[in-house]
Each structure stands twice: as structure tokens, then as C-alpha cells.
């Protein structure tokens, strides 16, 4: 079943067109990595999928819309969060904000927050202060929050930025587990071409006029990959 379909889409950023004629599709259970150089429009695309930004033209469709309670989003961290006094529980619970009715969170929503913290192995941090956690723990907290918002499709915007290699590997395998064991569809923006080809099922390589979309195997045998890899020194 197709969760995201993107046909003939044009994206612009501050009135400059960054992507022309983009086509791709994400089906249930897929693991799509979006790669590309800085400024190629990766974050813009994620925001457009979420409906936070308008596409210049074309057809970009997200199953169920963002209010369906099925999509979880893990944005890049902001500087304001660095000294934000919030407990882990408060942050995770805020993922349920869309389905909250009335003033308070329901018992079911609180249970859901607990379950997701357990799933990501951060239940012991529940009452800890978010700003005092390590980078890897913070990303797990935000991942748990994203799962609270929706467990069917995860949109991750460079989740490993600033993490050390060991923690990065842990986070990748965690996301991989969510994808394979829980059947969560993953769309991830990444700089890490190596990890992308290792974990993902599909790759979307953004380029202004001729973006590449296909399976990992198709990608690794493409000219684009080899040129990019070579320049990357890998």
C-alpha cells in the first residue's frame, strides 16, 4: 500500500526552485533514505510531505494526512531545547497532543507514552531532565515522542547529527528494528551514505533536475552513487 506518493513535484526554498520534477513512492514497510548535498532540499521535502510547506507545483500525497495519528516526525534539534527544563515523560507525552481531547491527557495516552519509552529502553529515564541527557538518549526520547504521534510512518530529519559513532550505530539498529520487527515505515534524511545503503530498502538522491529514486541495489550500481561516493572519499 502506498503511504506517500509524489508525482511531478517542484519544490522551492526562499523563491528559488531547488527541485524540479520529483517522482517517488513510499510503500508500507519501506525504509527510504533521502540523501543529497547540503541545500539540495532534503529538509524542504520532509516539510512538504508533512504539509508544513507548500509545493510549488505537482502532486504530493500523504496517506491519511498528518492528522491521522499515524505519522511520527523527528525534527532536527533546536538551540532552544538545549537548556529547556522538561522531564522525559513530559516530552514523550507531548507526542500525543494531536489525539488529546479536552484539557488533560487520557489514561490511554499516558499508557501509550509508557509503552513507547519501554520500547526504546528509556523508561528508567522517565523523570530525568531532558537537557541533562546525552545526545543519544535525547534522540531516543524524541523518537519515543514521534512514535506517540504515530506508529505507522516515521519521518526522521538527520537523527544522528552530532552523535558519536557508537551511539550512531545503536540508533541505526534501533530504527532498523522498528522497521523490521514493528513494521514501521521509515523515511530518513541522512548525510551518511554508508549507513543509508546498509539499512535502507530504497534511496532517494536529490538533485535539482535529475533526482534518483530506486532500490538500494539499483542505486549502488548507478553512476550518481559512484560519483558521489568517490568525492566523499569512501
Amino acid at each position: 500500500m502506498s503511504l506517500i506518493s509524489c508525482k511531478n513535484v517542484y519544490l522551492s526554498y526562499e523563491s528559488n526552485t531547488v527541485i524540479n520534477n520529483l517522482n517517488f513512492e513510499v510503500n508500507e514497510g519501506d525504509y527510504l533514505c533521502i540523501v543529497g548535498e547540503n541545500g539540495s532540499g532534503k529538509s524542504t521535502l520532509i516539510k512538504s510531505i508533512l504539509g508544513l510547506k507548500q509545493t510549488a507545483s505537482g502532486h504530493l500525497h500523504l496517506i491519511g494526512g498528518i492528522n491521522g495519528g499515524e505519522i511520527g516526525y523527528l525534527p532536527q534539534q533546536t538551540t532552544a531545547q538545549k537548556d529547556f527544563p522538561a522531564s522525559v515523560y513530559e516530552v514523550v507525552l507531548s507526542g500525543c497532543i494531536a489525539e488529546k481531547k479536552g484539557i488533560f491527557f487520557s489514561a490511554a495516552q499516558k499508557r501509550k507514552a509508557d509503552e513507547n519509552m519501554k520500547k526504546l529502553d528509556i523508561l528508567s529515564l522517565k523523570s530525568k531532565c531532558y537537557r541533562e541527557l546525552s545526545g543519544g538518549q535525547q534522540q531516543r526520547v524524541l523518537l519515543a515522542r514521534a512514535l506517540c504521534a504515530g506508529g505507522k510512518l516515521l519521518l526522521l530529519d538527520e537523527p544522528v547529527t552530532g552523535l558519536d559513532p557508537l551511539v550512531t550505530a545503536e540508533l541505526y539498529s534501533l530504527i532498523d528494528r522498528l522497521n523490521r520487527e514493528d513494521g514501521v515505515t521509515v523515511v530518513m534524511v541522512s548525510h551518511d551514505l554508508f549507513a543509508a545503503t546498509q539499512y535502507a530498502t530504497h534511496i532517494l538522491h536529490l538533485k535539482k533536475d535529475n533526482s534518483f529514486f530506486g532500490t538500494v541495489d539499483e542505486y549502488t550500481s548507478s553512476e550518481l552513487y559512484n560519483g558521489y561516493k568517490g568525492r566523499d572519499g569512501r
Binding site: 508544513l52 531545547q81 527544563p85 522538561a86 507531548s94 507526542g95
Partner: protein, 598 residues
């Protein structure tokens, strides 16, 4: 009535101050959490300047300030928000542009109204002790709305504050909640200005949150702690200001600073002990010492007796120096005379302290000027129990309208009366010795009514004092009769209108009597220089307690000497302690005048 809290609850004006302060403290603390965490602290500060500008315009146009500035500040809040989010001009610059722009508009509006509106000062420094019951009702309603909305949107506000893009991605209308926060902040700033003043209101919003963030580790605890900190600081600030006669707004901010220091210390102790560089026993010790210090501070502040005014004999309370001197000449040793304006205090920005209010309420005779600079008096006299005999000095004499002396038109021929829109009467009525005689009669009558036993001595002293005044009047008349020049030049505000009218003396002055302006129009200065040069006037005057910048610049241009005119509205501490009186100061004026006109 010795302990602070029974004092507060026994006085209506203090109960009102407490109620308004508590409500605003709670609202400011709640909104502060979002503003500080969203990095919007400066928006609160910018809005207070906008609010000041709006108040100034309202005062100039004679519109109720609250209803005028509320919508303007809310709109400005939306504008600031929009500019800092997506404008081409970045956040901090946008705020600086809007706040300084609003200040400039406010100053402009003030100058259009001859700089006379004393309300402006209230809005700059706040005046929590002169709240009317309408103020309390309006504040209560608005604060109830703010608190209700904050609770209703608590989780949305958290989500939007912590991570706006995530909140948007889950379908939360982030910009709506941002607007709610901005609007509520605008309302808090406007109603809080009445209490804290434009210059201090943003501290009420920012301090409690920053303080709480030193120690608290969850959003909810920051919210609770901010409210607690805010309330503690307000109440201790109020108590401190009552006990030590300090300005309330500044006291509240000082307590906030102290608490921020204590919380920061505790926070770093906890951090160090968490890294186990400090022995646990030691960190417990530090926390214990901090706790004990805070408790001691609170205990000292809240306990013990208040040094409040209690009257012993017939009492006259006066506002200005002139009225104080007149009253003490008549009262002699038979009655006590109190001057509210301490020596050297600027009369136009005076705010009564709680003790002043108590003194007024308990006195037998209250002598006041009744002009623009004493707008607060009306509120005090509306209070229950204000049944003393009142002498309003402006009611004792024939009034002149405040004159405008700008540009070319300010050649004042004698007796000329100009009508510029609404009449503003010059309040410095005592500057003519003959008016002083009339005021003496009124004060004497009031004292005789209040204390009939000593009526004879009051009348006797009044008669002999009136003789001295008439002699002063004769001396001045003679000096003016022998004068060469028919006018004087004052490079300052001009509070001696009644004096010059009495002796048919012309004058040219830079500003009207109560003006707070110190920055003269270049045309005005040039004109005054012309007046000095054309008739070779030897002296240019400044007014006492003024910096005299305009007078000195005229003196530099023309070579005329600078002399001082005493308005007797207030006196310097030195003159006061040196036993100067209205008459001795008037003789100083006479000496200076002789140099200027002969």
C-alpha cells in the same frame, strides 16, 4: 497595627495593591515561562515600550489609557511575533526598532501636550498604591481570562514551546498558540504597567522563570516554581517597601535578583555534588545555609514592627515645600506639620509611600496644591475615611492658565491670556506673596476649625506672618518699579507665572511651568538669545534643582550670567536643613531679580 500584615489588611489601598500585585505576578510568571523558553523575552520588554507610547498618546488625546493601549499593544505583539518569525528584519532588531519607535512617538505625544501630563510618570515607574477599585476589577477580570486560557492550553503551549516544528507536524496550530501567548503577554504588560511601570514590568515576566530554571528539571515544576517565586518576590517587595519607605516596583525587582542569586548558587551546588566533586555532607550543608539565610531574610522582613506614622497632636500634612512652610509658620508648636515631598525630591514625579498615605488619612488638615503634578491626591481623597479638612491651594486664588512659550509667539504682554484647547491652570500659585497671604488665611481657618483650643495663637501667628509677606511684596514692587528692563529671560521651565503677573513683569521662558522637557527647540533657544542680546539683559535664569542646560547654553552664547530662581515647590536638602523659608528664598529671588532688571 504594628505588624505588617495587619497593617496591610486594615487599609483599603494596601489591600487593593496586594490583590492587583498578586494577580499580575501570577499572570506574568505563567507567561514568562513560555516567553523565556521560546527566546522571546525581549518581546515582553518591547511591548512595555509600545505600551508606554500608547499611554502617552492616550493621555495627550484624553482617552482612557487602558482601553486605548490594550488593542494597540496586542496588535504590536502580533507584529513583533510575525517579524521575528518570518520578517526580513531579524527578531532582536525588529524588537529594538518597534520599542524605540514607540518611545519616540510617546515622547512626541508628550511634547504636544506641553509635557504636562503627569500620568506619564506613573506609567514609567508605576504607582501601585493609588489603584482605584475600577482598576482592581479590570485587573481581576483580565487576569482570570489569562489564567484560564493558560490552563486550558497548557499542553499545547508546552508542545509549541518545546518544539514548534514537531507540534506543527502533529497538526497543532502553532501560530495560533504563539498568537495566544503574544496577546496574553500584551494584556499582562498593559495592566502590569500601572503597577510596575514601563521600565520594570518585563522583569516581572522574565525573572521568576529564569530563577526557577536554575533548579527545576521539568516544565511543570518550572511553572509552579515561577508562580511561587513571583508571589514571594512581590509580597516581600511590597512589605519591604512599606517598612523602609522604598519604591514598590524596584523593591520587587531587587528581591527577584536576590532570589536568582540564591537559586543559581543552589543549582551549581547540585551540579557539583552530582559530579561528586563535593562531599554530599558539604552540599547538604550549603543548601542548609542557603535555606536558613532565606528563612532569616523572610523572618526579618515579615516580623517586627513597622515604623508607621502615629499622630500625637493636631497634624497638618502638606505636599509641597511652600505649603509646608506656610503651615509651620502658623502652627508654631501647637500642631505638627509634615511635608510629604522629602527635601530635594522632584515634585512632578513624586509618588506617595504607604506611610505618606497613612499620614494623610490620619491628619486633621491636609494642604495640597491640586494641580496636575498631584493627580494621585484625588485617588487618596476618594478613600473612605478621608474626612480631614482639606485646603486646596489652587482654590484660594485667581488662577492663570498655563502659558505656551514656543517659537516666536512667546512675547508675553501682561494680562494676555491664550486659549490652547483645554485650559491647563498653572499650579504654582504660591509664587506671588499676595497669593501666599490668601493661602495663609485658608490654612489658618482650617487649623482653627481643627483645633479650636489654640485658635488664638494660630490667628496671632498668621497675622504677624502676613505682615512679613506684605513687606516682601512691597520690597519686590519697589525693585521692579526701579527696573531698567521690563522682562526677564528664563532658560528653563517657568514656574513663577503668578510672581511675574503680580509685578507686571514680562518674561520669556523655554518651557511652561510643569514641563518635564529639558531639550529645547533650537528656535526657542535662538529666540531667548535674541531677547538677551537685544536689550543687553545681564542675567539669564535657571530654576532651582534643575540642571540648567538651556540657561547655560544661552549664557555661553550671550555672556549673560546665570542666576537661580526658587519656585519653593520643593527645596534642596541643604537649604531645608539650613532652615530656609519661603520668605528667605523669595529674598534670594529678589536679589537675583535686582541683578537681572537693573
Amino acid at each position: 497595627m504594628n505588624d505588617v500584615f495587619s497593617l496591610i489588611f486594615s487599609q483599603d489601598f494596601l489591600v487593593r495593591a496586594l490583590a492587583v500585585g498578586v494577580l499580575i505576578s501570577v499572570c506574568a510568571a505563567l507567561l514568562g515561562v513560555s516567553l523565556v523558553l521560546k527566546r522571546f523575552s525581549m518581546i515582553g520588554d518591547g511591548l512595555s515600550h509600545v505600551s508606554f507610547g500608547a499611554m502617552a498618546i492616550a493621555a495627550a488625546a484624553n482617552i482612557a489609557p487602558l482601553y486605548f493601549s490594550l488593542p494597540i499593544v496586542v496588535v504590536a505583539a502580533f507584529l513583533l511575533l510575525r517579524m521575528s518569525e518570518k520578517g526580513k528584519i531579524k527578531g532582536d532588531a525588529a524588537i529594538a526598532l518597534i520599542s524605540t519607535g514607540a518611545l519616540a512617538v510617546g515622547v512626541m505625544a508628550t511634547s504636544l501636550t506641553s509635557g504636562m501630563n503627569i500620568d506619564i510618570y506613573n506609567y514609567m515607574f508605576g504607582s501601585i498604591l493609588t489603584m482605584s477599585s475600577t482598576d482592581v476589577t479590570v485587573t481581576a477580570v483580565l487576569c482570570a481570562v489569562i489564567i484560564f486560557l493558560f490552563i486550558a492550553f497548557y499542553h499545547q503551549i508546552f508542545a509549541v514551546t518545546f518544539d514548534e516544528s514537531f507540534a506543527k507536524a502533529t497538526g497543532t496550530k502553532a501560530s495560533f498558540y504563539n498568537m495566544v501567548i503574544a496577546a496574553l503577554t500584551a494584556v499582562t504588560v498593559v495592566i502590569g504597567m500601572r503597577m510596575m511601570g514601563a521600565l520594570l514590568i518585563s522583569s516581572l515576566i522574565i525573572f521568576p522563570t529564569v530563577t526557577s530554571m536554575r533548579l527545576c528539571r521539568s516544565y511543570r515544576s518550572v511553572v509552579y516554581s515561577s508562580v511561587a517565586v513571583s508571589l514571594f518576590c512581590f509580597i516581600s517587595g511590597l512589605v519591604f517597601s512599606i517598612k523602609y519607605e522604598a519604591p514598590t516596583g524596584a523593591s520587587v525587582v531587587i528581591v527577584n535578583i536576590i532570589l536568582l542569586g540564591v537559586f543559581s548558587l543552589l543549582g551549581s551546588v547540585r551540579k557539583i555534588s552530582a559530579n561528586s566533586r563535593l562531599h554530599p555532607v558539604k552540599s547538604v550543608l550549603v543548601c542548609f545555609v542557603c535555606g536558613v539565610c532565606t528563612a532569616l531574610f523572610a523572618a526579618v522582613l515579615f516580623s517586627g514592627s513597622v515604623n508607621i506614622y502615629e499622630k500625637e497632636k493636631t497634624t497638618v500634612v502638606t505636599t509641597s515645600f511652600a505649603s509646608y512652610d506656610f503651615s509651620r509658620q502658623i502652627a508654631g508648636d501647637d500642631a505638627e506639620v509634615i511635608m510629604l515631598l522629602s527635601p530635594g525630591e522632584e515634585s512632578h514625579t513624586f509618588e506617595p509611600t504607604p506611610n505618606d498615605m497613612l499620614a494623610i488619612k490620619q491628619c486633621d488638615v491636609f494642604v495640597y496644591v491640586g494641580g496636575e503634578s498631584e493627580a494621585w491626591v484625588e485617588t487618596v481623597l476618594e478613600e473612605k475615611g478621608a474626612d480631614m479638612i482639606k485646603v486646596k491651594m489652587m482654590d484660594c486664588v485667581q488662577l492663570y492658565e498655563e502659558e505656551f512659550t514656543d517659537g516666536m509667539e512667546h512675547g508675553h504682554e501682561h494680562g494676555e491670556q491664550k486659549h490652547h484647547g483645554e485650559a491647563e491652570y498653572d499650579e504654582h500659585v504660591w509664587t506671588s506673596p499676595l497669593n501666599a497671604v490668601l493661602i495663609i488665611d485658608a490654612v489658618c481657618d482650617a487649623l482653627c476649625d481643627a483645633d479650636s483650643v489654640n485658635a488664638e495663637s494660630y490667628r496671632g501667628r498668621a497675622e504677624s506672618y502676613k505682615k512679613e509677606l506684605r513687606k516682601l511684596d512691597d520690597d519686590i514692587s519697589e525693585a521692579v518699579r526701579n527696573a531698567e528692563h521690563s522682562y526677564i529671560v528664563v532658560g528653563d521651565r517657568f514656574p513663577l507665572r503668578y510672581f511675574t503677573e503680580r509685578y507686571s513683569l514680562g518674561y520669556y521662558a523655554a518651557f511652561p511651568g510643569c514641563s518635564a522637557q529639558t531639550e529645547a527647540n533650537p528656535v526657542t533657544i535662538a529666540n531667548l538669545c535674541d531677547k538677551v542680546s537685544s536689550e543687553k539683559i545681564p542675567v539669564v535664569f535657571k530654576v532651582d534643582l534643575s540642571s540648567g542646560t538651556v540657561a547655560y547654553s544661552i549664557s555661553e552664547q550671550t555672556g549673560a550670567d546665570v542666576e537661580t530662581l526658587y519656585s519653593c515647590h520643593t527645596v534642596s536638602a541643604d537649604d531645608f536643613n539650613g532652615g530656609e523659608t519661603y520668605i528667605s528664598l523669595m529674598y534670594r529671588n529678589l536679589e537675583a531679580l535686582k541683578k537681572a532688571i537693573s
